[in-house]
Amino acid sequence: MILARVLGNVVATQKNSRYGEARIMLVQPINPDGAPRGASMLALDSVDAGEGDIVIVVQEGWSASTASTGEAGAAIDSAIIGVVDSVEQDTRKIETDG
């Protein structure tokens, strides 16, 4: 999973029927220290995340599909599965290349 910040939601009336009622969110992947990394991406919401929230995004099809729609097999590869309260990082443990 990765950490990301929710930038907002994308409204799409015409979309794959198996998406159901799940909201499509635009998220910016971040490092544990909060710095953005890489390009923003879309993820379906399963925990009622809101704009500005730091969230946990799973990037695997089965997990994303079952978490956000309740069943496997929908064309979804990323979903928000948790809202982060805090991240504790001990940078002394290792120098990351992020």
Binding site: T66, I81, V87, K93, I94
Partner: protein
């Protein structure tokens, strides 16, 4: 599967119900020489790993098989704690030596 160092933890109250009670750790994947590979990830812990420990983890759908029959949405699960770092380092050194001979 890959080696990784546990470099922190994530606290999340609102999360998928199947992940309740599970520890979420920040890990940095490592190569055989214990050098960082890629960016830090969030992993579900299935073995009781703590900060600073050398662990190995599994990616993809298979990561959800490690959680005692409960198939939780995870693509990154810590599935083992490495006992001896020096042993890993010695294997890596051997590998490098073999490579030099080619």
């Amino acid at each position: 599967m890959q080696l990784a160092r546990v470099i922190g933890n994530v606290v999340s109250t609102v999360k998928n119900a199947t992940l309740e009670g599970r520890k979420l750790m920040v890990i940095q994947a490592l190569d055989g020489d214990l050098r960082p590979v890629g960016k830090p990830l969030v992993a579900v812990d299935s073995v009781g790993a703590g900060a600073g420990e050398l662990v190995f983890w599994c990616r993809g759908k298979e990561a959800s098989f490690a959680l005692d029959g409960v198939e939780a949405p995870t693509d990154c699960t810590i599935i083992g704690i490495v006992d001896s770092e020096s042993h890993v380092k010695s294997i890596a050194t051997k590998g490098a030596t073999k490579g030099d001979r080619k």
